[in-house]
Amino acid sequence: MLKYAIKHILAGIVTVFFIATTTFVAMHAVPGDPITGAKAMTPEIRKNLEEKYGLNKPLHVQYAVYMGNMLRGDFGISFTQHNRSVNDIIKSHFPISAILGVLAVMVAALGGILWGSLTAIYRNRLPDKVLMVLVIFGVSVPSFVFAALSQLALTELNKRFGLTLLPVAGWGEPLHAVLPALTLGIGTMAFLTRLMRSSMLEVVNADYIRTARAKGVPPIKIFFSHQLRNAILPLITVLGPAIAAITTGGFVVESVFAIPGLGRYFVQAVQQLDYTVIMGLTVFYGAYLVFMVISVDILYGFIDPRIKVGKSAA
């Protein structure tokens, strides 16, 4: 078990290193450099700035400095926001994105399990057909369309009732999170519903279910302790990529709902070509996502008995 975890953690470290290196190379391949075109400047100012940011040093030295800073957890200072460090941006805006992300993942996972089980139980009957049509829509409609449509619908509702049923945009109160979390989670929820349905259908007619039924176990107990428990396993394997999808989906949803999260900052930095923020946030997001995927993998190792059995062989 320990070996399994260590193997995954090592692979994760290599991946994060690769992400940081690719980011460095990519950002240095950008035509021009961050200082050019910032403002009218004399060669002296330019020279001083280059010195300040270390841009006059050879590339491998810059790379070493960059990696050293990354290891110490220092992502540098924003180019466009006055005197603001990337760490500061992460510290103040990441928690918002994280809360939204966790809520969206919960919506997606719980919704996926619930709807997936329902469709499998009502297989080929009306609820199944209706839900599967909705699922196809959920997979096909981009999250920003859901976000905008829900905003429009809610604005109309609020107008109709003459009071704020749910806030349409902004952040701060718990109610603000309802709409963004739903729209952010809906695509992944549809995907998980599909997966849950097929994995549930495999389990529904398994021999051990028939045995349990023959023993006279009540259907509720069969559902919870036999069907659900076994059908959920494949869902956990895709939870890592699902978290990644929700995190990057947050870029758009946060912008549409005017939520001051890290995703919105990232999009702004990208639009303003704020180099240090782009580099810092890419590496940060990359490391975060790799961490999530590894956590899910290790969690899966703990939950799935088949991996424990195979540990001596591994």
């Binding site: 409609v141 981009p142 920003f144 990057t248 990208v270 639009q271």
Partner: protein, 474 residues
């Protein structure tokens, strides 16, 4: 009981005669096929034909192809032509407009004398009387005039675009007039042919009195002569002329949305088709090499694949897109293609490798080799056709996901560059005015959703038809 099974068998052998070994009489026609034999692809096509969803999707995709390829030939409107007299028009056919003179200069009416009297505070100012429009209000200009209020040092005008619910609901300030003698105002601020609610208040030294007068004005659709001459060369002032029709409305610069959707479809579908074809071909090549050679080459390729797969996709799409850069005058399609290809070949490569490894060891390939088939024949006759099904299915699923990615990136401004329309960038333009003019967002969003939906359903159908083993449990 002493006779063993062997002995029994041997004893039977002795009774065999030569006739037993004579060739049997051929009975022609008994085992002939009652139906024509079907090839793999014919069978797949038949099965796809039975899938109503897949056929509907195919029809939708055919319509989209028609819309994209033949559309611009039938609807000859320049997607980049701006018409600032028709900004954010809703969808509809053939509106008409009255031509008004563009040389006419609005002369504000000034009172010669002001009513005598002073007031102690702004609160004491009366509400203005006689608020009316001067000439017929049109979308070119709404001209207001009113009677002077005694003691006022100026006036403020507010305008609201939707029907106010309360009296205090007066909208946004339009103008502040500091000359008490000026008793008229001309509003030329993006007028549309719909009701506007003007509110006028007198002010005392910049301080507003609470006593207001409201006026509802519905401008008629009008066009300045100079603009009208562009539409019809015989336009005259006072004449009513038909405006160019915009069945899907116009955007915030008065560009025809239908033409833009067609042009955007070309960009979105081009990226959606070309990128998956290239990266799946690349994956096929890399995965094929990996699976065919095996050993160290395989190991090295698979490690690289693992690393590329581990990169967070959208994050690196954005990063690569910035790194490749977009020069002036470029559309940004090429960098997007390069970024998509360099990040997306991995899944096709893994799939092909797995297929090749599996098929190489399959019984029918062994059988073919045993019967003396040459490697090239095995490759062409068995390996490639049997991978094609899986590859075709993954291509069908790669198209919608690429369209999705393009839309996402263009929506955050990291896709194609502004003058080039794509469905994603049209959505990005449309969301800015979404609450007031939803059609600008809804049409491109609808096209993205329908296209992705159609390809997803077709993919499902193809998977069921081509590969019964992968068939979703239904």
């Amino acid at each position: 009981m002493t006779t063993t099974l062997l002995e029994t068998t041997l004893s039977v052998d002795t009774s065999l005669s030569a006739e037993v070994f004579a060739p049997a009489i051929k009975t022609v026609g008994v085992h002939s096929l009652s139906r024509p034999s079907l090839s793999y692809w014919q069978d797949a096509w038949l099965r796809l034909g039975k899938n109503r969803q897949a056929i509907t999707s195919l029809v939708i995709i055919a319509l989209l192809a028609f819309f994209t390829l033949a559309g611009p030939l039938l609807w000859r409107v320049d997607p980049a032509a701006q018409d600032l007299s028709q900004i954010s028009q809703g969808p509809g056919f053939g509106t008409s407009a009255v031509v008004v003179s563009d040389t006419e200069v609005f002369n504000p009416t000034f009172a010669k004398e002001l009513p005598q009297g002073t007031v102690s505070s702004a609160m004491a100012l009366d509400s203005p009387q006689g608020l009316t429009t001067v000439s017929a209000p049109s979308t070119v200009a709404v001209q207001l005039k009113w009677d002077p209020v005694s003691g006022a040092t100026g006036y403020v005008i507010y305008r609201k675009d939707i029907k106010p619910k309360r009296a205090s609901d007066i909208g946004l300030p339009l103008a502040e007039i500091k000359d008490p003698k000026q008793l008229s105002y001309q509003d030329q601020l993006t007028l549309e042919a719909k009701p506007y609610y003007y509110t006028l208040m007198a002010t005392l030294n910049g301080e507003e009195s609470g006593n207001m007068t409201q006026l509802e004005v519905t401008p008629t659709q009008a066009l300045k002569l100079a603009d009208a001459l562009k539409v019809s060369s015989s336009a005259q002032v006072g004449q009513k002329i038909g405006l160019p029709a915009h069945p899907f409305g116009t955007d915030y610069l008065g560009r025809d949305l239908l033409a833009r959707l067609m042009a955007g479809a070309r960009v979105s579908l081009f990226i959606g088709f070309v990128a998956p074809m290239i990266y799946i071909a690349l994956g096929l090549l890399i995965g094929g090499i990996s699976g065919y050679y095996g050993g160290r080459v395989d190991l090295a390729i698979m490690r690289i694949t693992d690393l590329v797969i581990a990169l967070p996709f959208l994050l690196f799409m954005i990063l690569f897109r910035i790194a490749f850069g977009v020069g002036p005058g470029e559309s940004g399609v090429f960098p997007l293609l390069v970024a998509l290809i360099s990040l997306s070949w991995t899944s096709a490569s893994r799939l092909t490798r797995g297929q090749v490894l599996q098929l190489r060891e399959s019984e029918y390939v062994h059988a073919a080799k045993l019967l003396g088939a040459k490697p090239l024949y095995v490759l062409i006759r068995h390996l490639i056709p049997n991978t094609m099904g899986v590859i075709l299915v993954s291509l069908t699923f790669a198209i919608p996901s690429t369209i999705f990615t393009e839309a996402f990136l263009s929506f955050i401004g990291m896709g194609v560059v502004p003058p080039t329309p794509s469905w994603g960038s049209l959505c990005n333009d449309g969301i800015q005015t979404f609450l007031s003019h939803p059609h600008e967002f809804l049409f491109p969003a609808f096209f993205i959703s329908v296209t992705v939906l159609a390809f997803n359903l077709l993919g499902d159908g193809l998977r069921d038809a081509l590969d019964p083993r992968l068939r979703s449990t239904e």
